[in-house]
């Protein structure tokens, strides 16, 4: 049984919550919520006037509520010994912060960070990934031996570092790294020799790892390929 640490919130809040009247906060609440029937503004009014939670500061109930505690009567309130760590000011939070980066919704965020992928997303347990890896390998091996690919489509996305536009390539037309590389160089207009040497072929496998294509045999590459990225080799 959970040990009761007996910590409940102080009866008077540690910090002046003047700005917890959400309606006067300055934060624009969404209106017109369509057919779903939740009208935020109405609800918020009724909520703030009847809110009696000791944890939230609630609204200044000039509007008529039944709350007994006058939280904003500063002269009468005794501030406990614990010092206020922050006064919640009238200012819109994070005003001085940079505007939130609008994510590029067109490319998958799972593959962002320059191809490194998001750690721990989607939230599938590492244990489950490991088991599925074993299962997937078995499946891939079975399907490869029958000559087919795991998914029905043979087109894979190809991106090049520094190039915003992704292309698609029909992987079933290729049977070796040489032919694949030649096609890719042509596709991205990289003139041979120097161009070829300055790029490395990497790919995302079915387990979500980015790997160097040159490290694996062609069959393995084909069996677990999800998409391709050409990155600049730095040597």
């Amino acid at each position: 049984m959970e040990l009761q640490l007996g910590l409940s919130l102080p009866s008077t809040p540690i910090f002046p919550f003047k700005m917890l009247d959400l309606n006067s906060y300055g934060y624009e609440l969404r209106e017109g919520l369509g057919p779903f029937g939740i009208n935020v503004n109405n609800n918020c009014d009724s909520c703030s006037s009847s809110c009696s939670s000791s944890s939230s500061g609630g609204a200044d109930d000039g509007g008529g509520g039944t709350k007994k505690r006058r939280l904003f009567d500063e002269e009468n309130r005794i501030v406990p010994k614990t010092l206020p760590l922050l006064f919640w000011t009238n200012q819109r939070p994070n005003d001085e912060d940079e505007p939130k980066d609008v994510d590029d919704h067109s490319s998958s965020a799972i593959f962002k960070n320059d191809g490194e992928g998001l750690v721990g997303w989607p939230p599938v347990k590492a244990w489950r990934k490991k088991v599925r890896r074993r299962v997937a390998n078995v499946r891939a091996a079975v399907e490869n031996s029958c000559g087919g690919r795991a998914s029905s489509s043979t087109y894979v996305k190809v991106k090049m570092e520094g190039n915003a536009i992704a292309r698609k390539i029909d992987i079933s037309l290729h049977h070796s790294f040489e032919s694949l590389t030649t096609t890719l160089m042509r596709m991205f207009d990289i003139s041979d020799e120097n161009g070829q040497k300055s790029f490395k072929l990497t790919y995302l496998d079915r387990e979500g790892d980015w790997l160097l294509a040159e490290d694996v045999p062609w069959r393995t590459f084909i069996g677990s390929l999800k998409c391709i990225k050409l990155i600049r080799s730095r040597c």
Binding site: T82, L85, V124, W127, R132, K226
Partner: protein
């Protein structure tokens, strides 16, 4: 000194009365009635649950509760499951075992989750507790089959050994053979996490055949099909069984042997495993399907048509775990066949592919919410969702108590309207008044947090990722959710203001996790200095946080309340306030 209010009842009578009170919450209330009840209760408390092993020290637990028989401890934060907590963070059980070895000679149950368990700990358990009965190691690591051998050899009355989802090193010891021939007490054995080299099949068969009380058996993947049939024939009394590897092609002799073995198992209620299953073998289990209440197919690559056939044989199903191969059509079949369904978990077969590889959408979940009146617990991975669907689900199933939705692509909007999911999740928290656990996903603004703070009064655990616009979002949750115990956040623009304004709230919660948010090290230090009953841990592998520019935000932050003070087993990448650093033992 005022006369004892309860003086009309003697201590023995009170203790007898208290023995009927099992729930920890009730026990806590009882102990707070008056000093004498506190005293009596603490001497007769037998079961302890510690949700965060660092919230209290073993010495403190022992001092208050001297006669404990059963303990459950949890260590690392939940996001460890998704590789967000670096190795070596902590959660070591040895200090606990060491203290309890001396203080609780009659301890017979130890249940651990996300803790580091060494062979030394296991050997100490085997040696110290004479009547040891139950060992559950869930998502633990740090031990090998050597430790298991020690347990097998010494614990004559062991009833339960459950290693679910733990990582066990193979020391090449045939640990199963260490159970003496005279050992017959096993009731529940879960070794599904072990690799193929770690289980001797003949030792397993002998063990199963001499344990008549065996009710739950979860084997690892290396046991072939014909052996599976043998095991089942040795233990027809099984209630729970985790099946093993299915062979690649159907052989009619193996099939009929297996079908016969299953048909003997009249008590079987729960099946799982099914790795590499070939659908042709599924009919072998049809004889038990009508009685099945729990089915875990989440490792099986069975496609929708076969899944539909299977669930149509299982009208008593209460719990189903499955991959998205079930598709909307399979979930519709589930909704019409399984009216007793209480829990549904749908996992992604290919979580890293931007394109869906199975036709599973929000429609499947809507169908189940409509057709299954007892549905309480949902975990659902999908690639598209709408507010309309969420509102429908909320209205259909106000009895939901756990709702975890993962729209795989971060920041995905309502596919019908392009809107964020504020309204949809708002409907969930508004209608589902008993909701205790919620996980959010998709495009979300601060508005959803306002709804959560307003309506989710019973919510105990909230998981948030890639959501919100500003500190106001976090502020709504911390100021509104009265029952909140665990809050875990990643990749949200929440920062110092919301955290510091709600500092007092943090002491009423078990823990707060924030990673890739906008909290500064300065704020962490301030919080740590002013709130001595909080442990504020900055987890940052890039080096000392104060060596970076002031406006640099911390990588990961884990705050938890504790009466044990700062811990002394922190690795180098965990940073706390300066005074703590001086107290650390040198590495």
């Amino acid at each position: 000194m005022p006369k004892r209010l309860a003086s009309s009842l003697s201590d023995e009578v009170l203790e007898h009365v208290f023995s009927f009170i099992q729930s920890e919450k009730d026990r806590n209330v009882v102990s707070a009635v008056c000093k004498s009840w506190y005293e009596i209760e603490r001497w007769c408390r037998r079961k302890i649950f510690v949700g965060n092993c660092y919230a209290v020290s073993p010495e403190m637990v022992i001092r208050r509760f001297p006669q404990v028989r059963s303990i459950e401890l949890k260590g690392k934060p939940h996001f460890t499951d998704f590789n967000l907590v670096p190795d070596g963070w902590g959660g070591y059980v040895l200090p606990w075992i060491t203290e309890m070895a001396g203080a609780y000679p009659w301890l017979d149950e130890i249940r651990l989750k996300r803790m580091v368990v060494t062979d030394e700990s296991l050997e100490l358990i085997a040696k110290s507790f004479k009547d040891f009965k139950v060992l559950v190691l869930a998502s633990c690591e740090g031990f090998s089959t050597d430790g298991l051998a020690a347990i097998a050899a010494s614990c004559k009355n062991l009833r339960e050994l459950d290693l679910r989802e733990s990582e066990v090193d193979d020391s090449s010891v045939h640990w199963l053979s260490h159970f003496p021939e005279t050992y017959t007490s096993m009731v529940s054995l879960n070794i599904s996490c072990l690799g193929s080299g770690e289980v001797s099949f003949s030792a397993l068969e002998r063990l199963v055949s001499r344990c008549p009380n065996l009710r739950s058996l979860k084997l690892n993947r290396a046991v072939p099909l014909d052996k599976t049939a043998n095991i089942l024939r040795l233990a027809p009394q099984l209630v729970e069984f985790s099946a093993c590897t299915y062979s690649a092609e159907l052989r009619s002799d193996v099939f009929s042997n297996l079908a016969g073995a299953f048909s003997n198992c009249k008590e079987l209620r729960s099946l799982s495993g099914f790795w590499d299953v070939v659908p042709d073998y599924l009919p072998a289990i049809y004889s038990v399907c009508s009685r099945l209440t729990s089915l875990n197919l989440s490792y099986a690559t069975i496609l929708s048509p076969d899944l539909i056939k299977l669930v149509s044989h299982c009208p008593s199903l209460q719990r189903l775990l499955v991959l998205d191969y079930i598709e909307d059509s399979g979930l519709e079949a589930l909704a019409s066949n399984c009216k007793d369904l209480q829990e549904l978990r749908v996992f992604p077969s290919d979580p890293f592919d931007a394109e869906p590889n199975a036709s599973l959408t929000e429609q499947g979940l809507v169908a189940v919410s409509l057709g299954c009146p007892k549905l309480q617990s949902v975990l659902y991975f999908c690639r598209r969702m709408s507010n309309a669907a969420l509102v429908t689900i909320a209205q259909n199933r106000p009895n939901l108590n756990r709702f975890r939705l993962c729209i795989i692509e971060p920041n995905t909007a309502d596919y019908l309207t392009g809107e964020p999911f504020d309204v949809g999740f708002g409907a969930i928290v508004e209608h589902c008044k008993a909701l205790i656990r919620l996980s959010l996903s998709g495009l979300l603004t601060d508005c959803v947090f306002e709804y959560i703070g307003k309506y989710a009064k019973k919510l105990e655990m909230l998981s948030v990722a890639f959501a919100g616009d500003s500190d106001l979002g976090l502020h709504h949750v911390l100021s509104g959710c009265e029952s909140l115990r665990k809050l875990e956040i990643r990749d949200c623009p929440f920062g110092d203001k919301a955290l510091l304004t709600n500092a007092a709230k943090l002491e009423t919660m078990q823990s707060l996790w924030m990673s890739s948010c906008s909290v500064s090290f300065e704020a962490c230090k301030l919080l740590s200095q002013k709130m001595p009953r909080l442990n504020v841990e900055v987890i940052d592998e890039r080096g000392p946080p104060d060596s970076r520019p002031e406006n640099c935000t911390v990588d990961k932050l884990y705050i938890y309340r504790s009466v044990a003070g700062p811990r002394f087993d922190m690795p180098p990448f965990v940073w706390t306030k300066d005074e703590d650093l001086a107290l650390r033992l040198s590495p």
